[in-house]
Amino acid sequence: MSSATATSPVTNAFAASRLPRFSTLWILLASLAVSGVVVGLVTMAGDAEFNVGLAVFFGAVIFAVANYVISLLVEGSRRAADRLVTTLVVAAFTVAMIPLVSLVYTVVVMGSGRIDWDFFTLSMRNVLGEGGGAAHAIVGTLLMTGLATVISVPIGLLTSIYLVEYGRGRLAQAITFFVDVMTGIPSIVAGLFAFALFELILGPGTRVGLSGAIALTVLMLPVVVRSSEEILRLVPNELREASYALGVPKWLTILKVVIPTSIAGISTGVMLSIARVIGETAPLLIAAGFSNNFNYDLTEGRMQSLPVYVYYSYISQGTDFAPYIERAWAGALTLIAIVMILNLIARLVARIFAPKLGR
């Protein structure tokens, strides 16, 4: 916050009066102290326990007001507004961290109990009560999500390239519009669709991993298209024009200039889309079924997935319910860990391929 003063544009120090460098920090501490005393007094009067969250909240409010008013008096309205926005932006960030921390804390504390070798090597075949693992579900999730990614990313990326670089007229309009509509397919409907499709092809009641992958593809495609389209549009035309001026054909310009420039954004988009579908429960239960056994074959037999595993470990517990709940949380933790690892890989890819620019 105090860096607001440090990195501000070059100004004439004599033309405008500025607050000293550490004023923000002092105002913050003072606000917290005031709020702490007030909340303390009120709760003591009300015979309640001292509420830290309440004190911090009021401290932040007092700080925002005090900082604004002091800056307004000393530095003028423009800088005061700047300080107010800085406070708000930091506050927004802090607010968002609360659920994140609470969630991650809950999952890690509840889930770490069953993170052991068995969990990652065993299936649930012939397991009753304690023990067992989620290896079959991990395999299923990786296979189905992997296949869905392999299908949707090329199609989605090419579509967004079409929309940004080639598309004109009715078709591009129609694609844009219908991709938007596609974001509104309820996940369970995607599952029903894939199930109905495979019933048509392979006979009644067919539940296979491939069907699950198709359901995920339907959900994944619009996210890939939408996010990469948005990123591709932001590549400055000057870059394209410079490339054309050097006689580079359009397709090479796209491959060598447009995509590398936006690779960080595109990989973020792909990660978002994977994260969007990897946790889907309902469509996978309908399309790929439920199983306690290993299955590596996408075209034959039911395939378990982690979200389905987590959900059913939670909802149908036996009389001895502790192992079921432990498995559910451990599965959730594993799912998050998988996405984190994928995310890291995507960032690495982006770093290797992105052109070295100024930021």
Partner: protein, 361 residues
């Protein structure tokens, strides 16, 4: 379906299971039952899932080359899948209606041979509540109906106090928790309310909670348990095996108050008549909720196993017969009682069901 393993630990674990399996097979002394191979597909009620899990483990242990898959997609989904021929057996919280059977469009069965229905999973539904320091309360049907219909709104209400002398009831609002999803548990629970207190519970047997009765909705048994546990002054109904440390209601039957127990739940099934107009192998029970027989607990969930009497060409008939026989056997029922808290079926019911299963072609 291949059963592959990862790593040596897995191999050891599975090997040891196989050893156990062969022991179990030997002790059972069944004639060649371990020759069975193949995959059996079932789908249906999620209420049965933990019991099915137990049966599948027991059956697969005795027959190592067999894989039984049970999709817990719900009773409706299970019946639809069975009708469409997508599964060899179904689990359902209600039997097929007579007119549904009359339509006779079961894809995996030979036309005109009808179906087989066995009430293989019997489980008491406990009325659970969360009040500090109170483990058990007595209530009659009308009181329970009043609470869930939103007419009795405070724990210190006279209707509750009159039946619980000596219990200090708090002056606390009642939050009645019901199932948000359509479920057989709700159907069975409201069937009881409608039977014993038709004046208070006026909407009859329902799966979807009527808006005018208010109350809190929570999904699945686990959701109801969590909502009751996390709230204060809450009351709900759920599969008794999950009641845990929560307080439970002893229900008035005749002149006495009966707490839930598997035995009392099985007793009401024996005290109840069959539904009329059904085939010999179609054992559908019309539970007598207002029974005043001694030591019966009237709020029970009965979940059926459904199969064909005569399968169309190519179905794994032997597998179906072996699996269903295992499910109703004393061993299978005991395993389900232990790991899912269900009530074992009676000797009479077993004999009748076994005869029906033996006749499957």
């Amino acid at each position: 379906m291949n059963i592959t393993r990862i790593g040596s630990v897995a191999a050891i674990a599975i090997a040891s299971t196989l050893v156990l399996a062969s022991c179990a097979g030997a002790s059972e002394g069944g004639e060649g039952s371990s020759d069975l191979t193949g995959t059996l597909i079932g789908a249906g009620a999620s209420s049965q899932q933990s019991a099915q899990e137990a049966w599948v483990v027991g059956f697969q242990t005795a027959n190592p080359d067999v894989t039984v898959e049970y999709d817990p997609i719900g009773s409706g989904g299970g019946r639809e899948t069975f009708i469409g021929g997508g599964s060899q057996f179904a689990g359902s919280d209600r039997a097929f209606k007579a007119e549904e059977i009359a339509e006779d469009n079961f894809a995996s069965c030979v036309a005109g041979t009808g179906i087989l229905e066995i009430p293989a999973y019997i489980s008491p539904i406990a009325v659970i509540f969360n009040l500090d320091g109170i483990d058990s309360l007595n209530m009659d049907g009308a009181t329970i109906a009043g609470i869930f219909a939103g007419e009795i709104t405070n724990w210190s209400d006279d209707a509750i106090a009159a039946q619980n002398e000596g219990v200090e009831l708090p002056d606390l609002a009642i939050t009645a928790v019901h199932r948000a999803d359509d479920s057989g548990t709700t159907a069975n629970f409201t069937d009881y309310l409608a039977a014993v207190a038709p004046d208070v519970w006026t909407v009859g047997v329902i799966e979807t909670w009527p808006t005018e009765y208010g109350g809190e909705a929570a999904p699945q048994t686990s959701g109801v348990i969590d909502a009751v546990t996390n709230g204060t002054g809450t009351i709900g109904y759920a599969d008794a095996s999950r009641a845990g440390d929560l307080g439970t209601v002893a229900v008035k039957v005749g002149d006495e108050y009966v707490p839930y127990s598997p035995e009392a739940a099985a007793a009401i099934i024996d005290a109840s008549p069959r539904e009329e107009g059904r085939g010999d192998t179609d054992i559908a029970i019309a539970i007598d909720r207002s029974s005043s027989a001694p030591n019966v607990y009237p709020i029970v969930l009965v979940s059926y196993l459904i199969a064909c009497n005569e399968y169309a060409e190519g179905a794994p008939v032997e597998l179906v017969k072996a699996y269903l026989s295992y499910v109703i056997s004393a061993e299978g029922q005991a395993l389900a009682a232990e790991s899912a808290g269900s009530a074992p079926i009676s000797e009479a019911l077993f004999t009748e069901a076994q005869a029906a299963i033996d006749a499957i072609k």
